[in-house]
Symmetry: C2
Subunit: 705 residues, 2 copies
């Protein structure tokens, strides 16, 4: 059963990294490109409008949005998911508070569901074949919502069907996997019913975390192609990335029965948890426990793969001056169950922000300089499917025209502080927004000043600043940053880590993630939701309305320098032994730093004068397209979609450029003429070429190469 705990941990990461949606074709009236009023070509961000938007973002309306969105379970492609599609459409097509246009886009994608006729089950079978114990098939109905017939029973999506029987995993013969979430990891150790929801925000003993066990993202049958009905599809037998063996999640109450009756040597200290017994490694049940000798665990999984139609909903506000520049802001719509926190807390904010902006638009008070695209993605929980299919379908348009992608999935994990992840160019615009808005709560600090108290780092350039996290693949920003090279960010309010070590909010992906849970425990009064709405609103307006794009590309210099230093310190000696020089990489980083500095000075000088609109456009193109220069579709042939040479997954131990780190890890114990060392050199060259190319695009545009 060691796998259970270990996989529990892995699942934590995987599930945290796995929230989901899907697309097709719009059947909506065509927009037209109205002539831009040239008078406004030099118009900058209007601070009065910005203030008005901040003021109009209403906590109560967010709360009401959340109540409606999370009223019923809305698993991807379920009838309620479709109801919410219509809700979004109505909102975005509202004559008084809607957008210029809105429509849906449908994709036919491969999802995985438990069988309705044959429930998945975990039993302990005695030596005579009798069933001695069965796991709960559903969560306990503690607040009424858990009894909704549309609650999907706990399952591990994409885990194959099968009925393995064993007690625990032989090292190389695992035939099935059970997964549970230990109270030590999710409840700060608390495990009793009266210590958990509905008495606190803790996970009840019967709560089971659902999740997708698909290794990649996007529709499994149509990698790199949009999942339109006519698209080429792999046979599901030929698709890759599915778990190889049956897998089933269970609650910690059931896990306790199994785990606390195991025999064998004690598990390592790091594997022990809060179930109230010493965790053993097996094999087999202990003789003094509740199961007779020879009892076995029988796991029955009846999951089925199904092609389903999943919708994205998109809405657009046409830019007045540069309609061909898109600022995208999205979240997924589908949930595992009621999904009040995940994802409806984000969608509630999205709807409130689109209402406020839509109202200004319909009144004629405001129209952004650039186009704003709002998106509600489908089937994210199954593997970022809706957003990925969208990027596959709109690859060229987005690559040519997208300024940035803002993601707000779970908007409030907890109400202590802002948390933001993104690539370096978005740091400055998030900081600007955060400085302008008061943090919720009794203090009079700004969101920025509150944030810096919880999470900070020392920047060589700026001194102490809030710490901007990096983007993994935990939500719909993944295809935007990794596949398309669009500067992206993810914004939320989150925990005081001094108060909880919970891996994530406790009812994550369970039937207990309900409106009341949010209303009572996560964000009573919804002031953190409002703070996120204001932060995102400010970021969005700055990106869409500022004359000069507020993407500070020179903040990449700091990142590159730090990755370079890690390479020098932790890999320099090893590389030298193999006659591989970091010299060209050093030179490339220096070139980038110099070009970014000069460009920054150029922008500052221009901002003091009255720049020509074409000059501004050219400069903004440099800023917008910088992130694209880090893409190399041939850099990581074994990864799907990942092509950003700075943010691809790092498996190597040294915290430097991922291609270099990973290749060095693999080469470390091979001979000097191995293919693995050649790959180290290839990765270095790919990196140097990308950085040189990035520097070149920042230099004066008529410089000779």
């Amino acid at each position: 059963m060691q796998c259970v705990k270990v996989l529990g941990g892995v699942l934590g990461a995987a599930a945290l990294l796995g929230l989901g949606i899907i697309l097709g074709h719009f059947a909506i009236p065509k927009g037209t490109d109205l002539p831009a009023p040239s008078a406004s070509a030099s118009q900058d961000l209007d601070l009065e409008i910005l203030e008005a938007v901040m003021g109009q973002l209403d906590a109560d309306r967010i709360r009401e949005n959340l109540r409606e969105l999370s009223k019923e379970p809305h698993l991807a492609t379920s009838p309620r998911d479709e109801v919410l599609v219509q809700l979004l459409l109505r909102r975005w097509q509202d004559p008084e508070s809607g957008l210029d246009s809105a429509g849906t886009s449908e994709y036919e994608v491969l999802l995985s569901f438990p069988s309705q006729k044959q429930p998945n089950r975990v039993d302990v079978v005695g030596p005579a074949g009798g069933i001695l114990f069965s796991s709960q098939r559903s969560e306990e109905n503690l607040t009424g919502e858990q009894g909704d017939p549309n609650v999907v029973p706990p399952y591990a999506a994409y885990a194959p069907p099968g009925t393995p029987q064993a007690v625990n995993a032989a090292k190389y013969g695992v035939s099935g996997v059970l997964v549970y979430t230990d109270p030590a990891d999710i409840n700060d150790g608390k495990s009793l019913p009266n210590e958990t929801f509905p008495h606190s925000w803790g996970l009840p003993p019967s709560g089971v975390e659902r999740g997708s066990y698909f290794e990649y993202f996007g529709d499994p049958l149509t990698p790199y192609l949009p999942a339109n009905p006519s698209s080429f599809r792999l046979d599901s037998d030929n698709a890759s990335g599915f778990p190889p063996i049956p897998t089933q999640p269970i609650g910690f109450k059931d896990a306790e029965v199994l785990l606390c009756n195991l025999q064998g040597a004690s598990a390592p200290a790091a594997w022990q948890g809060a179930l109230g017994c010493d965790y053993k490694l097996g094999p087999g049940f202990r003789s003094d426990g509740i199961f007779p000798a020879g009892s076995q665990v029988n796991v029955s999984v009846y999951n089925r793969l199904e092609l389903r139609n999943s919708s994205n909903v998109l809405g657009i506000i046409r830019g007045a001056v540069e309609p061909d520049r898109y600022v995208l802001y999205g979240n997924h719509r589908d949930s595992w169950v009621h999904g009040a926190v995940d994802p409806s807390s984000g969608t509630a904010v999205l709807l409130e922000l689109s209402r406020v902006l839509g109202t200004l638009l319909k009144k004629g008070t405001w129209r952004p300089r650039r186009s704003i695209v709002f998106a509600s993605w489908g089937a994210e929980e199954f593997g970022l499917i809706g957003s990925t299919e969208f990027t596959e379908e709109s690859f060229s348009k987005l690559q040519e025209r997208a300024v940035a992608y803002i993601n707000v999935d779970i908007s409030v994990f907890a109400n202590a502080t802002l948390r933001a992840q993104g690539t370096p160019p978005v740091q400055s615009v998030i900081f600007s927004a955060a400085k302008q808005i008061r943090a919720p709560g009794p203090s009079s600090l700004s969101i920025y000043d509150n944030w810096i108290r919880y999470s900070n780092r020392s920047s060589p350039v700026y001194g102490l600043v809030p710490s901007l996290g990096t983007l993994g693949a935990g939500s719909d920003y993944a295809p935007f940053i990794h596949f398309l090279g669009i500067s992206s960010m993810d914004i939320a309010y989150t925990y005081d880590r001094g108060k909880t070590s919970a891996r994530i909010y406790p009812t994550y992906h369970t039937a207990f993630d309900t409106f009341d849970y949010v209303d009572k425990f996560v964000d009573p009064g919804f002031s953190s939701h409002q703070a996120v709405a204001r932060t995102v609103g400010s970021v969005l307006l700055r990106l869409s309305d500022s004359l000069f794009l507020p993407l500070n590309v020179s903040d990449y210099s700091e990142t590159l320098r730090s990755l370079l230093q890690a390479a020098q310190q932790d890999l320099g000696g090893l590389l030298e032994q193999h006659n591989i020089s970091l010299g060209p990489l050093v030179t490339a980083v220096e070139k980038f730093e110099e070009a970014a500095t000069v460009l920054g000075q150029h922008i500052s000088a221009l901002q003091k004068g009255t720049p020509d609109p074409l000059q501004v456009r050219m400069l903004n193109d440099q800023l917008m397209l910088l992130e694209r220069t880090f893409l190399n579709s041939r850099a990581f042939p074994e990864e799907r979609y990942y092509s950003h040479v700075l943010w691809a997954p790092r498996t190597g131990s040294v915290a430097t450029f991922p291609g270099l780190s990973n290749a060095c890890s693999k080469a470390m114990n091979t001979g000097p003429r191995s293919a693995a060392w050649a790959e180290v050199q290839r990765q270095l060259s790919i990196l140097v070429v990308a950085l040189e190319g990035a520097a070149a695009t920042l230099r004066p545009v008529a410089d000779l190469w």
Copy 2:
């Protein structure tokens, strides 16, 4: 010996497709982006300037350029090649007729040369081991130039060394290849010394066509990476694309001795030539010939691979209004021997055009709206190496900013008519230029009206028009169109096909391609060179100075429709049998047609008013980037660089979209569930997605996806 003739034919194609150069780093003063005078942001093409440029392009100066360029052999990386690098730099840095800046860029690339110590040789060895016949080691010194010590002996670049001995090829055991050019293919049958150069433009009996036998293009050791000194390199043993067996070209005089003494069955009629005997298939020499029974042909090849530094020369005229938009115009500099036609006839034109434009620039009379980049590529003859390395190094800048690439390699094959190749968007600008300029010769026809007499087609849209050829990979445009998706063209003056069926001008790649050859036989008076200079000059100015880019994207509609019709007619039945529908492809083509039509109407309407500069820029971005939307780097995993879904190499027999045609060819005789049929479906999907994406980028920019 059948291989000889067959390979001769293949070589024809390969060599025609293979003309060459290389790059590194500039050490030149930085340009600066001077503020654009906003007064000129709406300035359109100035017809007076255009007329002035046409008038100043001087035939005598082109002739003098050619004399200097072709004075000595200038094989890639030879001392004379470096002298020409300096000549180009001097011209482009001239204070009175130079460009804004110019510089060189050096790459370290893998070339192939014959050994100086051990000449390649082809001998007939008698049964006793005595040498009965030896091929000529060099061409006859007919005009003095052939005696230059720097003439590289005939060889097949990249053919491996080896000394196979045989008489002719066993079907599956070929150990070496001899290649020659038959007088039937190159001299309209003429083969006698007094019928050939220096008495006519015919190939002398001792002439040998050199060429590169590398299968791909670009530096063989650094695919997809620029060949900078520090770049990762494959071991040459791991590099692919080299011929597997020793190969050597010989003259038709030597070929006659071997071929006319063969015994065996007669070769097929299509393989017969003009050597004055019946070509036999062997094996072995005939008993009544000049070689005793048991004689063998001994081929000794001592070619060596060498890493060499090759330079590109680049020069730029900074655009006044949109310096970040580049119109590129280039040709290679290196030749096999003196290279008067190939490539110096092109470079002579390039230098004259840069002189005329440079003079206007330095006088302050003119500065283009967009930047113009002039390029002299290195090592093209070895496989488009200089241009390919440039595109690898400058991938991001070019993909974001390049408007079009103009290639003029051999500018004059013959003096009958213009010949142009390109993608559909460049047709209209070439036509506009060709209509404006008088054709050389006694008639008073325009170049366009003369052209249509020699080569035309019936366009469903325009009626009878000159026929624009498609781009293969015959010169330096290949990486621009196939790897980067930049609209490209190749322009030259060429043959009256009623007068010659020569595969190419007869002294191609031999030591007889000299200044006198051009001056006496190819273009006496240089009026065809001047006509090409004017055509290219007009195209270049239109692309750089027109307010609206003169790229007629709707001309792609005609191409797509015709490719679709071929698919429907010639593959429709087959596909239907396998339940594969062309419906989605039909829909995608229709969407493209509609979007292109609407965009065309939009442009026409705007042109009637006083469009805002930003509006023009947005529209031009749509036009510029259309070609990029046809790229898919994953479409053809077995091809190197080719990623344009419309212009990748077609090996299938049906003249339709290459991916579809090729996949159908391979699937045709496989079972219905084969991987080959899945590939047909995958190719169809790739195509549909590309066309839908192309249509989407042409639609109004704020249309919802």
